[in-house]
C-alpha cells in the first residue's frame, strides 16, 4: 500500500479528540495497532447509557453537611455538650483536633425548611438548590476513607489516595472517546480563590496515555495553553504558515513513509480549528439576559463558579464528555458561619441555574450532574464555640452530595445518618460506589473498564464498588 494512503487510513482514527469508539486518540502508531489496547476498551458503552456526559461540580475543601443538607434538629438542645463516646466510637480524628480536651457539639445555626414534592429539607443557605429539589437526589450517606484534603480529593478523582492513577475523566476519555472533533474530551475549570490547593493529577491521566488527561480551561490568558497566535502573527499568516508546513511535512511523509507524520499534520490542523472553536466556546456575549438571570450576575465575570457553570453548559452542548468544575473555599475549620455564607452565595444560584438550564434545553436527561466535596465536617466544634460562631474539622464518615440528570431519580434522598450526623445508619455509599454508579449511568460496567499496567488490570473502582441502584431511574 502507498504509505500516504496507509497513513490517511490510520490517522482518521487517531486524532486526539476523535470519534472512534475506542477513544484511543493518538497513541503511538504501534500501540494503536497492537491488539491489547483495543481489547481492553473496545466495548463501551456496553449497555444503553442514560447519560452521554458528566458535569461534575466538585466543592473543594469539604462542605459542612449539617449546615446544608443533613438536618439535625435535636442538636440545638445539645449545644456545647460533649459528643457521646457511643457516637464517637474512638474513630480516628485529624491531628488538628485529636488533642482537643473536649469535643463539644456545635449545632448548625441555620434554619432548615421543606422543599419540593418529597419535602426534603435544605438549609436557608441554599435556597436556589432547594428550589430544584425535585430534580436532584441527595445522598446523605456518602463516606470515604481519607481524612485529609490531598488524599481525599485524589481518592474522589482517581479511586486511590495516592498519586499515579487516572482521573475519572481520563477513564471516560479512554473508555468512551470523544463526540467532538474540535474540543477536548475532558475539560476542567477552577474557581474560588484561596482555600485548598489543587493539583494537575486531579485531572491527570495516571498510567493511561497522556492524551486522556483533562485540559484545564483557564480564565486568565489563553483558555487553553498556547492557544493564541502571538502578537504580530495574524490568522492569515498562521494559515499560510500551516499550508507551508503541511507541504513540507507531506513531502517528508512521502520520503520516509512514517504514518506518524500524517497524524502530526492532522494535529496541526486540529490545533488551528481549536483556535477558533475554543474562543467561540468561551465567548458568553451572546448568552441571553434570561440565562444570566438563571446563573446570576457573577456568570459575567470570567473565572467565577457561575461563569464556569455556564461554560459547562456550553461544553455539554458541544458534547464534551467530562466537564469538571473545582470550586475552592469550603474548608471551614474556624468561623464557619461567616465563611459558609459567602461560599453558599457564590455557588448556590449557579448550581441550580445549571440544572434548570440543562432541563429547559432538554439536556438534563442525558447529562449526569454531580455536586460533591471530598469529605464532610465534624459535628463537634474545632476551636471556640458560641451560638453564632464555630468551626468544624474534617469528617470522612458521612457527608452529603447530590446528583441529578441522566439516569438519576430526582426528588429523593438516600441514606440516613445518626442524630449527630457522625455515623451512617443506613445505605452507606462509598466513593467506589459513586464511581460505579456514575459509570453505570454512562453505560459502563465498572468492572469491565480496565487498563493493564504493571501486570494488573486496573479499574477506576479498584476491586470495589457497587452500583447504587435505588437512585437510578
Amino acid at each position: 500500500m502507498d504509505p500516504i494512503q496507509t497513513a490517511n487510513l490510520l490517522h482518521t482514527r487517531r486524532q486526539l479528540f476523535n470519534r472512534s469508539a475506542v477513544g484511543l486518540g493518538t497513541l503511538a502508531l504501534s500501540s494503536l495497532l497492537s491488539e491489547r489496547t483495543l481489547a481492553e476498551a473496545s466495548e463501551f458503552p456496553s449497555f444503553a447509557p442514560k447519560a452521554k456526559r458528566v458535569i461534575y461540580l466538585l466543592q473543594s475543601g469539604a462542605p459542612s453537611q449539617m449546615d446544608l443538607y443533613d438536618y439535625k434538629p435535636h442538636l440545638k438542645d445539645r449545644f456545647a455538650t460533649d459528643l457521646p463516646d457511643s457516637i464517637r466510637q474512638g474513630q480516628r480524628l485529624t491531628g488538628m483536633t485529636s488533642k482537643q480536651d473536649r469535643f463539644p457539639v456545635a449545632p448548625s445555626m441555620f434554619e432548615f425548611s421543606r422543599h419540593g414534592s418529597s419535602g426534603m429539607r435544605f438549609s436557608e443557605l441554599i435556597p436556589h438548590t432547594a428550589s430544584i429539589a425535585d430534580d436532584i437526589c441527595v445522598i446523605r450517606s456518602m463516606h470515604t476513607q481519607a481524612i485529609n484534603h490531598d488524599p481525599a480529593i485524589t481518592f474522589f478523582q482517581t479511586g486511590a489516595q495516592l498519586a499515579g492513577r487516572p482521573s475519572m475523566g481520563a477513564w471516560l476519555s479512554y473508555g468512551l472517546g470523544s463526540e467532538n472533533d474540535n474540543l477536548p474530551t475532558f475539560v476542567s475549570m477552577v474557581s474560588g480563590s484561596g482555600g485548598q490547593p489543587l493539583y494537575d493529577r486531579l485531572w491527570g491521566s495516571g498510567f493511561l496515555p497522556t492524551q486522556h488527561q483533562g485540559i484545564k480551561f483557564r480564565s486568565v490568558g489563553d483558555s487553553v495553553l498556547f492557544l493564541s497566535n502571538p502578537a504580530g502573527l495574524t490568522n492569515s499568516t498562521r494559515r499560510r504558515f500551516l499550508d507551508d508546513l503541511s507541504k513540507l511535512n507531506h513531502k517528508k511523509l512521502i520520503d520516509v513513509g512514517d504514518p506518524e507524520i500524517a497524524t502530526r499534520m492532522s494535529q496541526y490542523e486540529l490545533a488551528y480549528r481549536m483556535q477558533t472553536s475554543v474562543p467561540e466556546l468561551t465567548d458568553l456575549s451572546h448568552e441571553s439576559k434570561e440565562t444570566f438571570e438563571l446563573y446570576g450576575e457573577d456568570a459575567k465575570v470570567p473565572g467565577t463558579y457561575a461563569s464556569n457553570c455556564l461554560l459547562a453548559r456550553r461544553l455539554a452542548e458541544r458534547d464534551v464528555r467530562f466537564i469538571q468544575l473545582f470550586h475552592r473555599g469550603w474548608d471551614q475549620h474556624t468561623n464557619l458561619p461567616r465563611d459558609i455564607r459567602k461560599q453558599a452565595a457564590a455557588t448556590d444560584q449557579a448550581s441550580a441555574g445549571l440544572i434548570r438550564d440543562l432541563k429547559q434545553r432538554g439536556m438534563l436527561d442525558d447529562t449526569l450532574v454531580v455536586w460533591a466535596g471530598e469529605f464532610g465536617r465534624t459535628v463537634y466544634c474545632q476551636g471556640t464555640l458560641t451560638k453564632n460562631n464555630y468551626g468544624r474539622d474534617h469528617h470522612p464518615r458521612c457527608f452529603s452530595i447530590w446528583l441529578a440528570g441522566g439516569g438519576i431519580k430526582g426528588g429523593m434522598t438516600y441514606g440516613t445518618t445518626d442524630e449527630f450526623s457522625y455515623n451512617i445508619l443506613e445505605n452507606p455509599v462509598h466513593v467506589h460506589d459513586l464511581h460505579a454508579t456514575m459509570l453505570h449511568c454512562l453505560g459502563i460496567d465498572h468492572k469491565k473498564l480496565t487498563f493493564k499496567f504493571q501486570g494488573r488490570h486496573y479499574r477506576l473502582t479498584d476491586v470495589h464498588g457497587n452500583v447504587v441502584r435505588s437512585i437510578l431511574t
Binding site: M96, P230, A231, G232, L233, K251, K252, K452
Partner: protein, 1044 residues
C-alpha cells in the same frame, strides 16, 4: 493465540489471525510454553490459583510446576498427552456453570483460541518451564546468520537472525547527516552543530563514526542528558508534592547524578552509592549525597495528617521504586496481600520494606524546605570559601585574644584618667529593633490609664490584670526569623500572665507569646495550638513575685524547639517541650505587639515590667549576661575593681571596648563579630540535601494487614523474596541489599538496566514492559539478545559509556529509519528492528534543541533549579499561595533538566510532551502526538523566541541573501540542507511574509519583540519578522520534532 499483550513474538501473523482458522495457525507454529501458555494461566488463572495464599481456591496452584502436576485424588490437573485425564482442559472447556473455569462470573474469560492452545499444549506433552526472568542470564553464543557481512557486533547477530527467520531484510545504512543527528541526540540530548556535521562528512576513515561516538561520550552534555532520564526514574522534583506542595532542595543530588554519568561511574558503584552510600565505611559527602535517591519521594506536610500513615507511604515508595528501577518487579502488589502473579508473599514485601524502614524520619514532612534527615552539602567552591572564612575567623579570634591584655590595660588607664558622677548605662544595641524603657509614656494603653512605678534610676510600667499596652506593628517575626526578647519582670502573681505577645488576643490563637506559667516562663510559637506549634516552658525556673527578675528569650530561626532558649537572670534554663512541630510561619501580620497581654482576657499580666528590648538576632549567652546585670555602667565604674562581679566587669568591658578602647582593638572586635556573623550566614545559606541514614536501634517492622498503617501483624526481619535469592539471610540491611543488586548472581538488575537503556535508544525495550519483568509482564522479543546484553554489561564491568557505544556502533542502530510498505504490513511496531526507529523527541530534547540551534542555550552545568518561561498565573491559579517567579537573563535558557519541577503543577511545555510527572517512579512514558503539542511549538514563547533568535543567527552567519539564510537555519535544525523543493517552499513563504510585514510594520515589530533576549543586531524589522516565520516553520517540521 495472539490476543495477549504478553505475547509479542508471533505478531507477524496478526493479519492472518483475523482470517485464518485456529487449527491452521497451530499447525504452522511451534507451541512454546513460556510464550503461549504461561501468559494465559497468569492472566486468567493466577488470581485464584496463584501465589496469593489467602485467595487461593481449592488449594490449587498453577504458577509452579509441582503443584500444577499434582494428582488431586486421581483427577490430575494435567496429564501429558491425555486431554480426558486433564482436569484443566475439562474445566476450561466445560459448559456446566458449576464446573466451568474460569467461573462464568469472572471478569477474565478464555477465548476459543486460548482454549485451543491449552488443548494443543496438553496434547503435545504439556512441557513446563519456570518464569524466565528469575534465573540469572546465561551468555548465549552468537547465532549464525546468512548475511555475514552486515553484523558489526553481537547485537546485530541476534537482530539479523530473527529478521532472517521472519523473512524481513535489514534497511540500508543511514545517510551520514541523519546518523550524526541521531547519535548526537541520543547520546547528548542535543543536535549536532554544522561544524560537527562537516567534520564527520569530511572524515572518510572507517573509524569516522566511532570517533564521533567517542567525542559525544566525552562531552559533558552526555552526563546532563543521561541525568535527565534518571531524574524521571528517580521521581526527582523541587517540591514535596502533597497539598501545598512546598519547596525542597535536592539539586545537590542532581549534580551528583550528572557528575556520576560524566565521570562514567560504573553502574554497580552508581547503584551502591545511591542505595547505601551512607553505610559505606567512612562515607564521603558525595556518597551521602547519592542516597538522596531514596528521599526523592513525595512528602506530606498537610496539617492534621496522621504521621504514621504517611511514614508508611514513604517506605512503600522506596520499596516500589527500588524494585521497579533495579529489579523490574511490581513488588508493591504484595503490600496488601501475597502477590497475585509473582512468587512474593506479603511477608516478603515487608521484609524488603524493613530494609528501608530504618531511617530517622517523620511522617509529616516539613512544609517549606527539606525534611530530616538532611545534611549540609556545600559544593566544592562553597567548601573552599567556607574553609577560608573559618580560617579568617580563627585568625581574628587569636587576635582578639592577643589584644585582651592591652584592652584591660587601656581600661585601667582610662579609669584612672576619667572620673564622672553622671549616671549612665549601656546595653546591647546590636540588632535592636525596639526598646521600651517606659521613662516616657508610650501611646497605646487600653483598658485603663497607664501607671508607672519607680525602678532603679527610672520607672517601670505597672499592669493590673486588665490594662495593657497595644504597641503597634512591631516585631512581626516569623519562623525563619532570628529574634530575642530581654526584659525585667516583677509579677504580683506568677501563676500566669502574658508578658509580651504578637497574636490575635484570643486564648491559644496563632502568633507568638512569652508568658508566665506556674512560676516559670513559657514560650509559644503557634500556627495552630494543638498540632502546628513550638511550645516550651522552663522546668526549674522560678520568677518570684514582688521581686525583679531578668528574663531573656532567644530564637534562632531553626523551626525547632531546641532553637528557643530561655535565660533567667542571665542563666540558661532547662526546658520542657510541650510540642515541637511547626510547619507554617506563626507570623501574625494583622495583630499588634502587646505588652502585658495575649491569650484573651484571662491572659492579662499583673505586676511590673521594665526595659523590654526586642532584637532581630539571637542574643549570645554573653550578651544576655550583660543585659541581666542591673548595675549601670556608671555605677560599675564606681565599684572597686576587685569587688566587681564577673558580669559587671564584662558589661564594663563591653561598653569600654565599643566606646573608648584604642581604635585598633575596636576594629578587630568589629571585624571578629562581623566575621562570626558572616560565617554563620554563609553556613546557613549552604545547600542541603535529604539523605538516607540508619537509626542506631533498628525500628521494628510489622506486616501491615491489608497494607494499612494501623493494622500491624507479625514482626518481620529485613530480607528479600526467596524466589530471587536462595540465601536471603545474607541480606540484612541496605548495604547488603545494594551489593546484592549488582551481584552477578542477581537475575534481574543487568537485564532490567540494559532493557531500559535499549528503550531509551530504540523507543521500546526488548521487554516492552520495562517496569514489569514478572509473570504478567511482556516477554522479550529477543530473549537471547537481552541475556547477551546483560552479560555483556557485566563483562564490561558495568561501564555504561562502553555499553552505549556498543549499541550505537551496531549496524542495527545505524540503519535508515525509512518505513516501507513491508514494514507497515509486517512489523508496524518495529519490534524486530528491520529499520531504525523514527521517534518524537522527548520534552527535554525538544526544548533544548530549540535553544541550541538558536544559540540561546546557556550551558552552565549544575546548580539550583531555574524557572524558564511559563504562562502567567499557572501556579497561583491552582496552588493558591505560591507564585511562579520567572527567572531572568541566562537562567531562562538553561537545559531542561534544570527546570524547576513543581509536582502539582508541572512545567506545561514539559507535561504537554509526555514528560514523567515526577510524583512517582516512571520508567516508561507514553509518546503522544496531539494538537496541544502543535500549539506549544507554534506559540509557546520558548519556541517563538528561539525562532526569532535563529532567524537573527541566520542573518548574522549567512549574509548573502535570504536563500542562504534559509539554508543555514535549516541546516542548524536538521543537520542537512533543504532540497530544491523545500527551499522553494520556504523561500516563497519568506517572500510572501516579507511583503505582508513591510505593509504592516507594527506586526513585524510585535513579532520580533517576543522573549526577554534582546535583538543583537539592527536588522530590517520586516525581514527579520518574515525570517522568524520561516524559522518557526522549520522548528515545527516533523523532521525537527523527531529523530530520524
Amino acid at each position: 493465540m495472539y490476543l495477549n499483550s504478553a505475547v509479542p513474538f508471533p505478531f507477524l501473523s496478526i493479519p492472518f489471525l483475523l482470517v485464518a482458522s485456529t487449527s491452521h495457525l497451530l499447525a504452522e507454529g511451534e507451541l512454546d510454553f513460556v510464550r503461549d501458555i504461561r501468559p494465559i494461566l497468569s492472566d486468567t488463572c493466577f488470581q485464584c490459583h496463584g501465589p496469593d495464599e489467602d485467595k487461593r481456591q481449592a488449594d490449587l496452584r498453577l504458577d509452579l510446576e509441582l503443584p500444577a502436576r499434582a494428582d488431586l485424588d486421581g483427577n490430575p490437573l494435567i496429564t501429558s498427552g491425555d486431554l480426558e485425564k486433564s482436569e484443566l482442559y475439562l474445566r476450561v472447556t466445560s459448559s456446566d456453570p458449576d464446573l466451568q473455569m474460569p467461573p462464568p462470573t469472572s471478569d477474565r474469560q478464555l477465548t476459543s483460541i486460548q482454549k485451543e492452545l491449552i488443548k494443543q499444549w496438553i496434547k503435545r506433552g504439556a512441557n513446563w518451564e519456570s518464569h524466565w526472568a528469575f534465573s540469572p542470564p546465561l551468555r548465549p553464543t552468537l547465532p549464525e546468520v546468512a548475511n555475514s557481512i552486515w553484523p558489526k557486533n553481537g547485537i546485530d547477530h541476534f537482530i539479523l537472525r530473527r529478521l532472517e527467520k521472519e523473512g524481513l531484510s535489514v534497511s540500508p545504512a543511514s545517510e551520514k547527516r541523519t546518523l550524526i543527528r541521531r547519535v548526537t541526540l541520543d547520546l547528548t540530548g542535543l543536535p549536532p552543530t554544522p561544524a560537527e556535521v562537516n567534520d564527520f562528512l569530511a572524515d572518510d576513515s572507517p573509524r569516522a563514526y566511532e570517533r564521533v561516538v567517542d567525542r559525544l561520550l566525552k562531552s559533558p552534555r552526555y552526563g546532563e542528558h543521561m541525568a535527565g532520564e534518571w531524574l524521571d526514574v528517580a521521581r526527582y522534583a523541587d517540591t514535596s508534592g502533597y497539598q501545598n506542595d512546598g519547596p525542597r532542595e535536592m539539586w545537590r543530588w542532581r549534580d551528583w547524578v550528572i557528575n556520576a554519568f560524566n565521570d562514567n561511574k560504573r553502574f554497580d558503584e552508581f547503584t551502591i552509592e545511591q542505595i547505601a552510600g551512607d553505610m559505606l565505611p567512612n562515607a564521603t559527602l558525595s556518597q551521602q549525597i547519592a542516597t538522596g535517591f531514596n528521599r526523592n519521594h513525595r512528602g506530606n506536610a498537610e496539617g492534621g495528617i496522621i504521621p504514621e500513615e504517611f511514614q508508611v507511604e514513604y517506605v512503600v515508595d522506596r520499596v516500589e521504586t527500588t524494585a521497579t528501577v533495579w529489579l523490574g518487579l511490581t513488588l508493591g502488589c504484595a503490600r496488601c496481600h501475597d502477590h497475585k502473579y509473582d512468587p512474593f508473599s506479603q511477608a516478603e514485601f515487608y521484609q524488603f520494606y524493613a530494609l528501608f524502614n530504618n531511617i530517622p524520619e517523620h511522617g509529616r514532612a516539613v512544609k517549606e524546605g527539606n525534611s530530616p534527615p538532611y545534611i549540609s552539602a556545600p559544593t566544592h567552591t562553597q567548601q573552599q570559601r567556607l574553609n577560608e572564612m573559618e580560617e579568617r575567623l580563627q585568625e581574628l579570634s587569636r587576635e582578639v585574644k592577643r589584644n585582651e591584655p592591652a584592652l584591660r590595660e587601656a581600661l585601667t588607664k582610662w579609669e584612672s584618667e576619667n572620673n564622672s558622677d553622671k549616671p549612665f548605662d549601656s546595653l546591647i544595641d546590636d540588632g535592636l529593633v525596639r526598646a521600651f524603657s517606659f521613662e516616657e509614656t508610650p501611646s497605646g494603653f487600653v483598658d485603663g490609664q497607664p501607671e508607672f512605678a519607680k525602678h532603679g534610676d527610672g520607672q517601670a510600667v505597672v499592669f493590673d490584670g486588665q490594662r495593657h499596652l497595644v504597641a503597634g506593628d512591631v516585631a512581626n517575626f516569623g519562623y525563619f526569623d532570628k529574634f530575642s526578647f530581654s526584659f525585667w519582670v516583677n509579677p504580683t502573681s506568677n501563676e500566669r500572665g502574658t508578658i509580651v505577645s504578637r497574636m490575635e488576643d484570643v486564648h491559644r490563637s496563632s502568633g507568638y507569646s512569652i508568658r508566665l506559667t506556674n512560676g516559670g516562663i513559657a514560650v509559644d510559637l503557634v500556627k495552630r495550638w494543638l498540632d502546628d506549634s513550638i511550645r516550651v516552658e522552663t522546668v526549674d525556673a522560678m520568677i518570684p513575685t514582688e521581686t525583679w527578675s531578668h528574663v531573656a528569650v532567644t530564637y534562632d530561626g531553626s523551626r525547632v524547639a531546641a532553637g528557643i532558649r530561655v535565660f533567667v537572670d542571665g542563666v540558661l534554663q532547662s526546658q520542657q517541650v510541650n510540642l515541637d512541630y511547626i510547619n507554617q510561619s506563626f507570623a501574625a501580620d494583622d495583630a499588634p505587639l502587646r505588652i502585658g497581654a495575649g491569650h484573651g482576657v484571662d491572659g492579662r499580666f499583673s505586676g511590673m515590667i521594665d526595659e523590654l528590648r526586642i532584637y532581630e538576632k539571637e542574643l549570645t549567652p554573653a550578651e544576655v549576661k550583660i543585659l541581666s546585670e542591673p548595675v549601670t555602667v556608671a555605677e560599675i565604674l564606681k565599684i572597686r575593681r576587685n569587688l566587681r562581679t564577673t558580669t559587671q566587669f564584662e558589661k564594663l568591658r563591653y561598653w569600654y571596648l565599643r566606646t573608648h578602647a584604642p581604635q585598633r582593638i575596636q576594629e578587630v572586635f568589629i571585624q571578629h563579630r562581623n566575621s562570626q556573623r558572616e560565617l554563620q550566614q554563609y553556613q546557613e545559606s549552604l545547600p542541603t540535601v535529604m539523605v538516607m541514614q540508619e537509626l542506631k536501634e533498628r525500628r521494628p517492622t510489622f506486616i501491615l494487614k491489608r497494607g494499612e498503617y494501623d493494622k500491624p501483624g507479625g514482626e518481620v526481619t529485613p530480607g528479600i523474596p526467596d524466589a530471587l535469592v536462595p540465601q536471603k539471610e545474607s541480606i540484612s540491611d541496605r548495604l547488603t541489599l545494594a551489593r546484592w543488586l549488582v551481584a552477578p548472581s542477581n537475575p534481574l538488575t543487568a537485564r532490567v538496566t540494559v532493557n531500559r537503556l535499549w528503550q531509551q535508544i530504540f523507543g521500546t525495550g526488548i521487554v516492552k514492559t520495562s517496569e514489569d519483568f514478572g509473570s504478567q509482564g511482556a516477554l522479550p522479543t529477543h530473549p537471547e539478545l537481552l541475556d547477551w546484553l546483560a552479560t555483556e554489561l557485566i563483562r564490561l564491568d558495568w561501564d555504561l559509556k562502553a555499553f552505549l557505544k556498543l549499541v550505537v556502533l551496531s549496524s542495527t542502530y545505524q540503519q535508515s529509519s525509512v518505513i516501507t510498505e513491508n514494514h507497515i504490513k509486517l512489523d508496524p511496531e518495529n519490534r524486530l528492528l528491520a529499520r531504525s526507529p523514527r521517534l518524537r523527541l522527548t520534552a527535554r530534547m525538544l526544548r533544548d534543541q530549540a535553544l541550541l540551534v538558536s544559540g540561546l542555550l546557556q550551558e552552565r552545568r549544575g546548580g539550583p533549579s531555574v524557572k524558564p518561561y511559563q504562562p502567567d498565573g499557572l501556579w497561583k491559579e491552582i496552588a493558591t499561595t505560591t507564585n511562579y517567579e520567572q527567572s531572568t537573563g541566562p537562567d531562562l535558557y538553561r537545559r531542561s533538566l534544570y527546570t524547576y519541577w513543581k509536582r502539582t503543577v508541572a512545567p506545561p511545555n514539559m507535561a504537554i510532551f509526555d514528560a514523567a510527572g515526577r510524583e512517582m517512579c516512571v520508567v516508561r512514558s507514553s509518546r503522544t502526538n496531539t494538537p496541544l503539542q502543535a500549539l506549544a511549538v507554534m506559540n509557546d514563547i520558548t519556541f517563538l523566541e528561539a525562532a526569532r533568535v535563529l532567524a537573527e543567527r541566520a542573518f548574522r552567519e549567512a549574509e548573502a541573501d535570504h536563500l542562504a539564510r534559509i539554508n543555514h537555519a535549516f541546516l542548524l535544525a536538521t543537520a542537512r540542507f533543504p532540497d530544491r523543493e523545500e527551499l522553494k517552499i520556504l523561500a516563497e513563504a519568506y517572500e510572501h511574509h516579507l511583503v505582508n510585514f513591510q505593509n504592516n510594520l507594527d506586526a513585524a515589530t510585535a513579532l520580533i519583540s517576543h522573549g526577554d533576549s534582546e535583538l543583537k543586531h539592527r536588522l530590517d524589522k520586516a525581514e527579520l519578522a518574515a525570517m522568524t516565520i520561516v524559522t518557526s516553520t522549520i522548528l515545527n517540521l516533523d523532521e525537527v520534532i523527531n529523530k530520524e
